[in-house]
Symmetry: C2
Subunit: 132 residues, 2 copies
Protein backbone atom coordinates (compact mmCIF):
# COMPACT_ATOMS: atom_id res chain seq x y z
CA UNK A 1 0.00 0.00 0.00
CA UNK A 2 2.86 2.39 0.72
CA UNK A 3 4.28 1.85 -2.74
CA UNK A 4 0.93 2.24 -4.47
CA UNK A 5 0.13 5.37 -2.50
CA UNK A 6 3.42 6.92 -3.57
CA UNK A 7 2.57 6.12 -7.18
CA UNK A 8 -0.94 7.51 -6.73
CA UNK A 9 0.30 10.89 -5.54
CA UNK A 10 2.88 11.12 -8.32
CA UNK A 11 1.85 13.36 -11.23
CA UNK A 12 0.60 11.35 -14.23
CA UNK A 13 3.37 10.62 -16.69
CA UNK A 14 6.08 10.64 -14.02
CA UNK A 15 7.76 7.43 -12.98
CA UNK A 16 9.26 6.40 -9.65
CA UNK A 17 12.42 4.38 -9.13
CA UNK A 18 12.71 1.67 -6.53
CA UNK A 19 15.42 3.78 -4.94
CA UNK A 20 13.11 6.73 -4.31
CA UNK A 21 10.31 4.52 -3.01
CA UNK A 22 12.72 2.73 -0.70
CA UNK A 23 13.58 6.14 0.74
CA UNK A 24 9.99 6.80 1.78
CA UNK A 25 9.39 3.32 3.11
CA UNK A 26 12.81 3.35 4.76
CA UNK A 27 14.01 0.05 3.45
CA UNK A 28 16.19 -1.49 0.77
CA UNK A 29 15.42 -0.99 -2.95
CA UNK A 30 15.44 -4.74 -3.51
CA UNK A 31 12.55 -5.16 -1.06
CA UNK A 32 10.59 -2.64 -3.13
CA UNK A 33 11.47 -4.43 -6.35
CA UNK A 34 10.26 -7.74 -4.99
CA UNK A 35 6.92 -6.16 -4.14
CA UNK A 36 6.78 -4.41 -7.51
CA UNK A 37 7.18 -7.82 -9.09
CA UNK A 38 4.02 -9.00 -7.33
CA UNK A 39 2.09 -5.85 -8.21
CA UNK A 40 3.23 -6.17 -11.81
CA UNK A 41 2.12 -9.78 -12.00
CA UNK A 42 -1.28 -8.67 -10.74
CA UNK A 43 -1.46 -6.07 -13.50
CA UNK A 44 -1.50 -3.09 -11.14
CA UNK A 45 1.74 -1.44 -12.22
CA UNK A 46 4.02 -1.23 -15.22
CA UNK A 47 7.76 -1.34 -14.61
CA UNK A 48 10.19 0.07 -17.16
CA UNK A 49 13.69 -1.24 -16.76
CA UNK A 50 15.73 1.53 -18.27
CA UNK A 51 14.59 5.10 -17.58
CA UNK A 52 12.26 6.15 -14.83
CA UNK A 53 10.88 3.09 -13.18
CA UNK A 54 7.27 2.36 -12.28
CA UNK A 55 3.81 3.84 -12.88
CA UNK A 56 0.24 2.73 -12.21
CA UNK A 57 -1.59 0.88 -14.95
CA UNK A 58 -5.00 1.86 -13.58
CA UNK A 59 -6.38 4.99 -11.99
CA UNK A 60 -5.91 4.94 -8.19
CA UNK A 61 -9.70 5.03 -7.82
CA UNK A 62 -9.90 1.80 -9.82
CA UNK A 63 -7.56 -0.16 -7.55
CA UNK A 64 -9.20 -1.59 -4.44
CA UNK A 65 -7.42 -2.73 -1.32
CA UNK A 66 -8.68 -6.19 -2.14
CA UNK A 67 -6.73 -6.07 -5.40
CA UNK A 68 -3.66 -5.19 -3.38
CA UNK A 69 -4.35 -7.82 -0.75
CA UNK A 70 -4.72 -10.52 -3.39
CA UNK A 71 -1.58 -9.36 -5.15
CA UNK A 72 0.75 -9.45 -2.18
CA UNK A 73 -0.76 -10.95 0.95
CA UNK A 74 -2.66 -14.14 0.40
CA UNK A 75 -1.01 -17.52 0.34
CA UNK A 76 -2.98 -19.89 -1.86
CA UNK A 77 -5.96 -17.51 -1.58
CA UNK A 78 -6.78 -18.82 1.91
CA UNK A 79 -6.58 -16.71 5.03
CA UNK A 80 -6.88 -19.65 7.40
CA UNK A 81 -4.82 -22.79 7.07
CA UNK A 82 -5.28 -26.15 8.76
CA UNK A 83 -3.18 -28.88 10.23
CA UNK A 84 -2.63 -31.06 7.21
CA UNK A 85 -2.95 -34.62 8.43
CA UNK A 86 -5.50 -35.33 11.17
CA UNK A 87 -6.11 -38.96 12.05
CA UNK A 88 -8.59 -40.45 9.55
CA UNK A 89 -9.53 -43.19 12.02
CA UNK A 90 -11.07 -40.66 14.41
CA UNK A 91 -14.59 -39.43 13.57
CA UNK A 92 -13.65 -35.91 14.53
CA UNK A 93 -10.23 -35.95 12.90
CA UNK A 94 -11.76 -37.23 9.70
CA UNK A 95 -14.38 -34.49 9.39
CA UNK A 96 -13.16 -31.43 11.28
CA UNK A 97 -11.77 -29.68 8.23
CA UNK A 98 -14.99 -29.93 6.23
CA UNK A 99 -16.97 -28.80 9.28
CA UNK A 100 -14.92 -25.62 9.52
CA UNK A 101 -14.64 -24.86 5.84
CA UNK A 102 -17.88 -22.91 5.37
CA UNK A 103 -17.47 -20.72 8.42
CA UNK A 104 -13.89 -19.80 7.64
CA UNK A 105 -14.75 -19.02 4.05
CA UNK A 106 -17.58 -16.74 5.18
CA UNK A 107 -15.24 -14.95 7.57
CA UNK A 108 -12.64 -14.43 4.87
CA UNK A 109 -15.29 -13.15 2.46
CA UNK A 110 -16.50 -10.61 5.04
CA UNK A 111 -12.96 -9.34 5.39
CA UNK A 112 -12.49 -9.10 1.66
CA UNK A 113 -15.71 -7.19 1.15
CA UNK A 114 -14.41 -4.47 3.44
CA UNK A 115 -11.14 -4.30 1.55
CA UNK A 116 -12.98 -4.19 -1.77
CA UNK A 117 -14.90 -1.11 -0.63
CA UNK A 118 -11.82 1.10 -0.30
CA UNK A 119 -9.56 2.31 -3.11
CA UNK A 120 -5.93 3.34 -3.29
CA UNK A 121 -7.19 6.81 -4.19
CA UNK A 122 -9.11 7.04 -0.92
CA UNK A 123 -6.08 6.02 1.10
CA UNK A 124 -3.87 8.42 -0.83
CA UNK A 125 -6.33 11.23 -0.08
CA UNK A 126 -5.89 10.50 3.61
CA UNK A 127 -2.13 10.95 3.50
CA UNK A 128 -0.01 14.05 3.31
CA UNK A 129 -1.68 16.13 5.98
CA UNK A 130 -1.43 15.63 9.70
CA UNK A 131 -4.51 14.07 11.23
CA UNK A 132 -6.61 16.05 13.67
Amino acid sequence: MHVLTLLAVTPPGELLTSDRMAGSVNTNPVIIRRILGQLKKAGLVEVRAAAGGTYLRRAPAAISLLDVYRAVEVVDNRLFSMHDKPNPKCPVGRTIQAALEDTLTRAQTALEQQLAAVSVAQVAAGTGELVG
Copy 2:
Protein backbone atom coordinates in the same frame (compact mmCIF):
# COMPACT_ATOMS: atom_id res chain seq x y z
CA MET B 1 -10.82 -26.02 17.13
CA HIS B 2 -9.94 -29.69 16.80
CA VAL B 3 -9.21 -29.91 20.51
CA LEU B 4 -12.36 -28.06 21.52
CA THR B 5 -14.50 -30.17 19.19
CA LEU B 6 -13.13 -33.32 20.76
CA LEU B 7 -14.02 -31.97 24.19
CA ALA B 8 -17.46 -30.93 22.94
CA VAL B 9 -18.37 -34.43 21.76
CA THR B 10 -17.08 -36.01 24.96
CA PRO B 11 -19.84 -36.99 27.44
CA PRO B 12 -20.18 -34.45 30.28
CA GLY B 13 -18.10 -35.44 33.28
CA GLU B 14 -15.51 -37.26 31.21
CA LEU B 15 -12.04 -35.83 30.77
CA LEU B 16 -9.60 -36.14 27.87
CA THR B 17 -5.83 -36.52 28.16
CA SER B 18 -3.42 -34.70 25.88
CA ASP B 19 -2.31 -38.13 24.68
CA ARG B 20 -5.76 -39.07 23.39
CA MET B 21 -6.27 -35.70 21.76
CA ALA B 22 -2.87 -35.93 20.11
CA GLY B 23 -4.01 -39.22 18.62
CA SER B 24 -6.94 -37.60 16.83
CA VAL B 25 -4.98 -34.57 15.67
CA ASN B 26 -2.06 -36.79 14.73
CA THR B 27 0.61 -34.86 16.52
CA ASN B 28 2.68 -34.84 19.69
CA PRO B 29 1.00 -34.53 23.11
CA VAL B 30 3.19 -31.55 23.99
CA ILE B 31 1.75 -29.61 21.06
CA ILE B 32 -1.71 -30.24 22.49
CA ARG B 33 -0.62 -29.18 25.97
CA ARG B 34 0.76 -25.91 24.65
CA ILE B 35 -2.57 -25.16 23.02
CA LEU B 36 -4.43 -26.23 26.15
CA GLY B 37 -2.36 -23.69 28.04
CA GLN B 38 -3.72 -20.92 25.79
CA LEU B 39 -7.29 -22.18 26.03
CA LYS B 40 -6.95 -22.40 29.78
CA LYS B 41 -5.62 -18.86 30.04
CA ALA B 42 -8.66 -17.73 28.06
CA GLY B 43 -10.94 -19.51 30.52
CA LEU B 44 -12.31 -21.96 27.97
CA VAL B 45 -11.06 -25.19 29.53
CA GLU B 46 -10.05 -26.58 32.88
CA VAL B 47 -6.99 -28.82 33.03
CA ARG B 48 -6.52 -31.29 35.89
CA ALA B 49 -2.97 -32.47 36.29
CA ALA B 50 -3.39 -35.83 37.86
CA ALA B 51 -6.26 -38.00 36.67
CA GLY B 52 -8.20 -37.53 33.47
CA GLY B 53 -7.03 -34.31 31.90
CA THR B 54 -9.16 -31.58 30.38
CA TYR B 55 -12.83 -30.57 30.17
CA LEU B 56 -14.75 -27.55 28.90
CA ARG B 57 -15.58 -24.81 31.37
CA ARG B 58 -18.51 -23.59 29.29
CA ALA B 59 -21.15 -25.32 27.24
CA PRO B 60 -20.00 -25.79 23.62
CA ALA B 61 -22.88 -23.57 22.51
CA ALA B 62 -21.47 -20.77 24.67
CA ILE B 63 -18.03 -20.78 23.05
CA SER B 64 -17.78 -18.84 19.80
CA LEU B 65 -15.10 -19.22 17.18
CA LEU B 66 -14.12 -15.67 18.00
CA ASP B 67 -13.35 -16.77 21.56
CA VAL B 68 -11.12 -19.45 20.13
CA TYR B 69 -9.53 -17.11 17.60
CA ARG B 70 -8.69 -14.61 20.31
CA ALA B 71 -7.33 -17.34 22.57
CA VAL B 72 -4.89 -18.85 20.12
CA GLU B 73 -4.54 -16.95 16.89
CA VAL B 74 -4.16 -13.23 17.29
CA VAL B 75 -0.85 -11.52 17.85
CA ASP B 76 -1.38 -8.30 19.78
CA ASN B 77 -5.05 -8.38 18.75
CA ARG B 78 -4.21 -7.05 15.27
CA LEU B 79 -4.73 -9.05 12.10
CA PHE B 80 -2.73 -6.68 9.94
CA SER B 81 0.67 -5.40 10.87
CA MET B 82 2.70 -2.61 9.34
CA HIS B 83 6.26 -1.86 8.48
CA ASP B 84 7.41 -0.21 11.69
CA LYS B 85 9.56 2.71 10.63
CA PRO B 86 8.59 4.61 7.48
CA ASN B 87 10.53 7.77 6.69
CA PRO B 88 9.04 10.66 8.74
CA LYS B 89 10.50 13.18 6.30
CA CYS B 90 8.24 11.94 3.51
CA PRO B 91 4.62 13.20 3.53
CA VAL B 92 3.38 9.75 2.58
CA GLY B 93 5.71 7.83 4.86
CA ARG B 94 4.68 10.02 7.76
CA THR B 95 0.93 9.47 7.37
CA ILE B 96 0.36 6.18 5.56
CA GLN B 97 -0.22 4.18 8.73
CA ALA B 98 -2.94 6.49 10.05
CA ALA B 99 -4.56 6.56 6.61
CA LEU B 100 -4.87 2.77 6.59
CA GLU B 101 -5.82 2.27 10.22
CA ASP B 102 -9.60 2.72 9.93
CA THR B 103 -10.03 0.53 6.88
CA LEU B 104 -7.98 -2.32 8.28
CA THR B 105 -9.80 -2.16 11.59
CA ARG B 106 -13.15 -2.33 9.79
CA ALA B 107 -11.98 -5.34 7.80
CA GLN B 108 -10.80 -7.14 10.92
CA THR B 109 -14.08 -6.39 12.67
CA ALA B 110 -16.06 -7.84 9.77
CA LEU B 111 -14.03 -11.03 10.02
CA GLU B 112 -14.53 -11.26 13.75
CA GLN B 113 -18.28 -10.79 13.49
CA GLN B 114 -18.51 -13.87 11.31
CA LEU B 115 -16.44 -15.88 13.76
CA ALA B 116 -18.57 -14.65 16.65
CA ALA B 117 -21.71 -15.98 14.94
CA VAL B 118 -20.62 -19.62 15.06
CA SER B 119 -20.18 -21.78 18.14
CA VAL B 120 -18.06 -24.80 18.95
CA ALA B 121 -21.33 -26.71 19.33
CA GLN B 122 -22.29 -25.93 15.74
CA VAL B 123 -18.94 -27.08 14.42
CA ALA B 124 -19.09 -30.21 16.55
CA ALA B 125 -22.54 -30.97 15.14
CA GLY B 126 -21.03 -30.91 11.65
CA THR B 127 -18.44 -33.53 12.46
CA GLY B 128 -18.71 -37.28 12.84
CA GLU B 129 -20.73 -38.08 9.77
CA LEU B 130 -19.52 -38.05 6.22
CA VAL B 131 -20.66 -34.99 4.30
CA GLY B 132 -23.09 -35.40 1.39
